[in-house]
C-alpha cells in the first residue's frame, strides 16, 4: 500500500463531498433532524389521557373525585357528558379515550358505608394506552378512597369505618382482549401503501428524464394531462391490489376483527392511494434523477408515517408543537380511519374529522400533480 496515493484519494474525496450539497445534507442535516425528532417528538410515556366525565350527581364530592383524576397528571378532562349515548358517541368519534361515570348516589353511598359504583370506560383500540390508563385509574381511585377515609370523614365528623367502598368497574370497548396486534396491523397497511405507492410513482417521470426519452415525448402532441393520467392509472390499480391483499391478510390471516363497512374502507383507501401516488409523482417531476426522487420519496413517506402518524407513538402524547406538525402528516388520517373502521365499525359520520383531512390532502395533491408537469425543458 502506498501512503501518497492513499492520501491523494482521500483528499480528492473530501473535496468532492464538501462540494456536493446532497452529501452534505445527509452528513450534517439528517443527524440533527433525527435527534430533534426522536428527542422531543416521540415518547412512550402516557400522560394526559383524554377523559370525558358523566357526572350524574354533580355534587361537591363528585367534582372532587373528578378533579383528582385531573390533578394526578395522568388524565385530562376534555368533556362533560350528559347521557350514555353521549359516551358512546364520544368514544366512537375518538373525542376521548376514556369516560368516567359517577352515579347519582355517589355521596350517599360514600357517607353511609355503602358501595359506590364508579365506571370507567376505555377505548381499547390502542391497547397500550388503555392498559396503562386503566392502571392509573385504579391508582387514582385507591388514593381517593384513602383520602376519603381520612380527611373527608373527619371533615364531616364521620368514623373512617363509616365510609363506603368505591367499586371501580373497568370496561374496555372494541378490543376487549387488549390485543396490541389489532391496533398495530391495520396501521401497517398505511405504512406499506405509503412506502410502496410513493416509491413506484417517484420513478416514473424521472426515469424518462434519466433515460433520455422525455425530450422526444414532449415534442409530440401528447398533453401533459394525458401523460400524468396515463402514467398513474396502472400504479393506482397496483396500489389498490396491494392494499386489497394486505387488508385480506389482516382480516383472514391475522384475524383482526373487521366491524365496519367495506365501501368506506375501499373509498378511503382509494383516497389515500391518490395522496401517496401523487406525492411520488410530484417528486418525480421535480427531481430528474431516479435515485434522488426515490430517496426523497422514502424520506417523505416512511419517516412521517412510522414516526408521526400515530402508528407507533400516540399523537396525544406528543408535545403540542409536534402534534401540530402531525396535521400535515397525511398518513395520520388514514391510520386513524383504518383503526376506527376495523375495531369500532365507525360510520362515515364518525369519521368526519380524519376523512375531511384525507379529502383535503387528496384534492390538493391531485391539483398540484395536474399542473406540475410542463412540456418544457426549462
Amino acid at each position: 500500500m502506498n501512503g501518497r496515493r492513499l492520501f491523494a484519494i482521500a483528499y480528492k474525496e473530501t473535496l468532492q463531498v464538501c462540494r456536493d450539497p446532497r452529501s452534505l445534507a445527509i452528513a450534517l442535516l439528517m443527524p440533527l433532524l433525527q435527534m430533534a425528532l426522536l428527542g422531543y417528538g416521540v415518547s412512550l410515556d402516557i400522560k394526559n389521557v383524554s377523559l370525558c366525565v358523566y357526572d350524574q350527581e354533580n355534587s361537591q364530592t363528585s367534582r372532587d373525585l373528578t378533579s383528582r383524576f385531573v390533578a394526578s397528571g395522568w388524565f385530562e378532562a376534555v368533556h362533560a357528558l350528559d347521557s350514555d349515548r353521549a359516551i358512546r358517541q364520544a368514544i366512537d368519534r375518538g373525542t376521548c379515550i376514556g369516560a368516567l361515570v359517577i352515579p347519582v348516589t355517589f355521596t350517599k353511598s360514600m357517607s353511609s358505608a355503602g358501595k359506590a359504583n364508579i365506571q370507567t370506560i376505555f377505548d381499547g383500540t390502542d391497547a397500550n394506552t388503555t392498559n396503562i390508563a386503566t392502571g392509573y385509574a385504579k391508582g387514582v381511585i385507591a388514593e381517593a378512597l384513602t383520602d376519603f377515609k381520612n380527611r373527608w370523614a373527619q371533615a364531616h365528623g364521620l368514623q373512617p369505618d363509616a365510609i363506603g367502598q368505591i367499586d371501580l368497574q373497568l370496561r374496555v370497548w372494541f378490543n376487549a382482549g387488549l390485543e396490541s396486534r389489532n391496533f398495530i396491523i391495520p396501521g401497517v397497511v398505511a405504512v406499506i401503501l405509503a412506502a410502496v405507492g410513493a416509491q413506484l410513482t417517484s420513478l416514473t417521470i424521472s426515469r424518462e428524464w434519466e433515460r433520455g426519452t422525455m425530450e422526444q415525448l414532449i415534442s409530440t402532441p401528447v398533453t401533459a394531462f394525458e401523460v400524468m393520467l396515463g402514467k398513474l392509472v396502472p400504479y393506482f390499480v397496483i396500489a389498490l391490489i396491494d392494499a386489497a391483499f394486505c387488508l385480506l391478510v389482516t382480516i383472514f390471516w391475522f384475524q383482526v376483527p373487521f366491524r365496519g363497512s367495506v365501501t368506506t374502507l375501499v373509498m378511503t383507501t382509494a383516497l389515500f392511494a391518490v395522496v401517496v401516488l401523487g406525492i411520488g409523482y410530484l417528486l418525480s417531476v421535480r427531481i430528474r434523477s431516479q435515485l434522488g426522487a426515490s430517496q426523497i420519496a422514502l424520506i417523505l413517506t416512511m419517516l412521517p408515517t412510522t414516526m408521526l402518524s400515530g402508528y407507533t407513538f400516540p399523537i396525544d402524547q406528543m408535545p403540542a408543537p409536534v402534534r401540530a406538525v402531525t396535521f400535515l402528516v397525511y398518513a395520520r388520517y388514514y391510520v386513524s380511519i383504518l383503526r376506527s373502521i376495523f375495531l369500532k365499525g365507525s360510520s362515515l359520520a364518525d369519521l368526519a374529522g380524519p376523512l375531511l383531512g384525507l379529502v383535503i390532502f387528496a384534492t390538493v395533491i391531485a391539483y398540484l400533480a395536474a399542473i406540475a408537469f410542463r412540456k418544457r425543458l426549462d
Binding site: 502506498n2 501518497r4 496515493r5 492520501f7 491523494a8 484519494i9 483528499y11 480528492k12 473535496l15 468532492q16 462540494r19 456536493d20
Partner: protein, 321 residues
C-alpha cells in the same frame, strides 16, 4: 523482455493473436499489430467494434482470452501493474473530475502516478502552460470549454512522462481549431519519442495518424497509412456526377454495367466504377431515362468510403482467402 529497449525504433506495443471472448461473443479476434517508438497509430472503427476492449487489455484492465500483448516491454497479462506505471491514458469525456479545480486535478494525478515531489511544481506549470490555462488554475473543470478540458486531460496523462500514451476518443465534438492545436501537441510528443495509440470512431481523426488500423467486429480489416488505405482499398474509381432527378438517377446507375456501387451524396451522385473509362458514358445513359446530367468528375475517396467497401466485401487484413 522485462526492460524498455532503448533502441530508437524498437517496438513499444506488440500484439500477437490478441483475442478476447465474453462467453460466446468474440469482442476482439486474433489481432496482430506492432507499433514502433514515436509512431502514432489510429484504431479506427465504429462503436462496438472492439476498440475499447483492446485498449483495456493493453492497459492491463482485462485479461486476454488468447494471444499476447506487450506494452513498453511488459506483458499485459503477467505484469499489468508495471504496464500501468508506464502508460498514460487520456479519455476526453471521462478523465477529469469536473467538481475539482485545474490544479486539484493535476495534483491528484501527480499523486496517483508517483511523480517525484521535486518535479511536481515544474511539471504542473508546464502542463498548465501547454494547455493555455495560466490564470485559471483555480477554476473548476466544469467551467472550461471542450478544447481546454482536452488539453488539460492530456497534461494530466503525461505528468509522469510515460513512454506510451493511449488516447480514447480524444477530440470528438471539439472545435476544429482546438482539435488542430491538440494534434500539434500530439505530433510534438511523438517527435520526442512517445508512442501514441489513438482509438476513435471518427474517421476524419484517422488522417492525423501515421498508420491506421481499421477495426470491425473485432477483426483487423485493413492496416496502412491514410494515403495507402485510400489508394488501394477502394477496389474501383470514385466519381461524382450531378443530375436533376437524384432518386431516378440513382436507380438507373445502380443497374448500369461497370458500376460497383452508387449513392446520393448531398446534391450529387457518387458512383464507384470498375474502370474509369466507363465514366464518360454515364450522362448519355442517364439521358435515356429522361434525366439531365452534368459531366462526371473524379473525386478522392474518404476513409469512410474505404471502410464501407471493405466491410461489405468482408475483407480481413492478412487473412488467407
Amino acid at each position: 523482455m522485462d526492460n524498455l529497449d532503448p533502441t530508437p525504433s524498437a517496438p513499444t506495443v506488440q500484439m500477437q493473436g490478441l483475442t478476447k471472448r465474453f462467453g460466446t461473443f468474440v469482442a476482439v479476434d486474433d489481432l496482430d499489430l506492432t507499433i514502433t517508438k514515436g509512431e502514432i497509430v489510429g484504431f479506427i472503427g465504429p462503436n462496438g467494434a472492439g476498440k475499447s476492449t483492446t485498449l483495456r487489455m493493453l492497459c492491463g484492465l482485462l485479461r486476454p482470452s488468447a494471444g499476447s500483448a506487450f506494452v513498453a516491454g511488459y506483458d499485459v497479462a503477467r505484469h499489468p501493474e508495471d504496464v500501468r506505471a508506464h502508460i498514460g491514458y487520456m479519455s476526453q469525456k471521462f478523465s477529469l473530475y469536473s467538481d475539482l479545480t485545474v490544479r486539484e486535478n493535476l495534483q491528484f494525478f501527480g499523486g496517483m502516478y508517483h511523480v517525484p515531489r521535486r518535479e511536481m511544481a515544474s511539471r504542473m506549470a508546464q502542463a498548465i502552460a501547454t494547455a493555455g490555462l495560466e490564470g485559471r488554475e483555480d477554476a473548476l473543470v466544469a467551467t472550461l470549454a471542450g478544447g481546454w478540458k482536452q488539453r488539460l486531460a492530456l497534461g494530466c496523462a503525461i505528468l509522469h512522462r510515460p513512454p506510451v500514451l493511449f488516447l480514447d476518443e480524444p477530440t470528438s465534438g471539439v472545435e476544429p481549431e482546438a482539435r488542430r492545436h491538440f494534434w500539434d501537441m500530439i505530433h510534438n510528443l511523438a517527435g520526442s519519442g512517445v508512442t501514441i495509440l489513438v482509438s476513435t470512431h471518427y474517421m476524419d481523426e484517422a488522417e492525423y495518424c501515421n498508420r491506421i488500423a481499421l477495426i470491425n467486429a473485432g477483426k483487423l480489416v485493413a492496416l496502412g497509412s491514410p494515403g495507402e488505405l485510400r489508394g488501394r482499398e477502394l477496389g474501383g474509381e470514385l466519381f461524382e456526377i450531378s443530375c436533376n432527378m437524384l432518386g431516378a438517377g440513382l436507380a438507373k446507375l445502380r443497374q448500369a454495367p461497370g458500376v460497383i456501387d452508387a449513392a446520393i451524396f448531398g446534391d450529387k451522385l457518387h458512383v464507384l466504377l470498375r474502370d474509369s473509362a466507363t465514366a464518360i458514358g454515364l450522362p448519355l445513359l442517364l439521358s435515356q431515362g429522361g434525366i439531365i446530367a452534368g459531366s462526371p468528375n473524379r473525386i478522392s475517396a474518404s476513409l469512410e468510403d474505404v471502410f464501407v467497401q471493405l466491410v461489405s466485401r468482408g475483407h480481413v487484413e492478412g487473412a488467407h482467402p
